[in-house]
């Protein structure tokens, strides 16, 4: 059993489990699936700074913070106890593309040549952590949701603004990958 769990999980297994989170949250306590809102609650709890957007009872939304804390713990559990011993299988075309961009492809889930503390105060760090993170935080709130709130919860509830949002997530991602990224890597 554990051997099976240690293998990378197929898309439909993951898809079904993620999809079931929607009814699980609704039936456990009328909660609407969404993750990026946790970032707002952190702002409201730690530095509301009299900004109207952060003036609300964040304690009522504390479930969301427990949920994301759980995700962090889940990451620890999966990596410490259920980790796949084999290297990650990435499509050979993607490997070629990344090598052409001078990005080293290793066997971890994330390229260590980018995601390490050594890069923190370099151009790589500035772009991958600081700029990337800022766009994620600013963009999701401006969009009123992320892949969970719009793509999964919103589409599940047949909300057309969520479909618009999902298409724009893709447009932004495609523009970054194909148009901007080749230009960014020249900075390193």
């Amino acid at each position: 059993m554990v051997e099976i769990i240690k293998q990378p999980w197929t898309w439909y297994v993951a898809g079904v489990l993620i999809g079931l989170t929607v009814p699980a949250l609704l039936l456990l306590g009328n909660k609407h699936f969404g993750v990026s809102s946790s970032l707002r609650h952190i702002c409201a709890a730690c530095m509301p700074s009299k900004i109207p957007f952060f003036q609300y009872d964040w304690k009522k939304e504390a479930w969301n913070l427990f949920f994301v804390a759980g995700m962090l713990l889940g990451g620890i559990v999966a990596t410490q106890f259920l980790s796949n011993p084999d290297p990650i299988q990435i499509s050979s075309q993607t490997v070629q593309d990344l090598q052409a961009l001078n990005i080293e492809v290793d066997h971890n889930l994330m390229p260590s040549s980018i995601f390490s503390f050594d890069n923190l105060f370099t151009m790589k760090g500035l772009i991958f952590f600081v700029l990337g993170g800022f766009l994620v935080g600013f963009g999701t709130r401006y969009a009123s949701g992320c892949t969970s709130g719009h793509t999964i919860m919103g589409l599940s509830n047949l909300q057309w603004p969520s479909l618009v949002a999902t298409c724009c997530f893709m447009i932004g991602g495609l523009a970054m990958t194909h148009l901007i990224f080749p230009w960014i890597v020249k900075l390193f």
């Binding site: 989170t21 759980g70 713990l73 892949t147 047949l158 932004g172």
Partner: protein, 182 residues
Amino acid sequence: MDSQTLLKTKLDMQLVENNRKSKPVVVDHPIACEAQNDQLSDESLIGSNIKYLLLGVLFGIVFVKAEIISWYRIQEMFRFHSFHMYGVIGTAVLVGMTSVWIIKKFKIKTIQGETVVFHDKKFQWGNVIGSTLFGLGWAITGACPGPIFAQIGSGFTVVSITLLSAIAGTWVYGLVREKLPH
């Protein structure tokens, strides 16, 4: 009321009406939380919320085990080199959709016996502009907000800087939102 006063009153009303028209239109976009908590019965901070922590743990495990947190998988997705991420998201949406349909159809109650509440999302231009900005960030970091937490948990502790920056981004949005088109 003599004709003079009547005229004055009419003029006043006209003035009020004009003022109302020239006032900047207050943009109606949700200031309320988007991942709503619609539970009516009381919740204790730890006792009631611990179940969401456990659900989060399961969720985090799925994220890592299906390699959804992998920067490489996101690259594959945006390069259309693999079906994996499309399969995951597509299945999740289908399962979510079916579940919501079943809950509505059979009026299934929450474990507290409350009616499940659904909200309509109102379109605002942030759905286009904000979503595109997030898409740009998604392709750089290889993470949407959920996987950020799971990435940190799976040992890529430097992603905590990404998280801090994402919190800063959310804060800046809160600061400037009145000036942004919605």
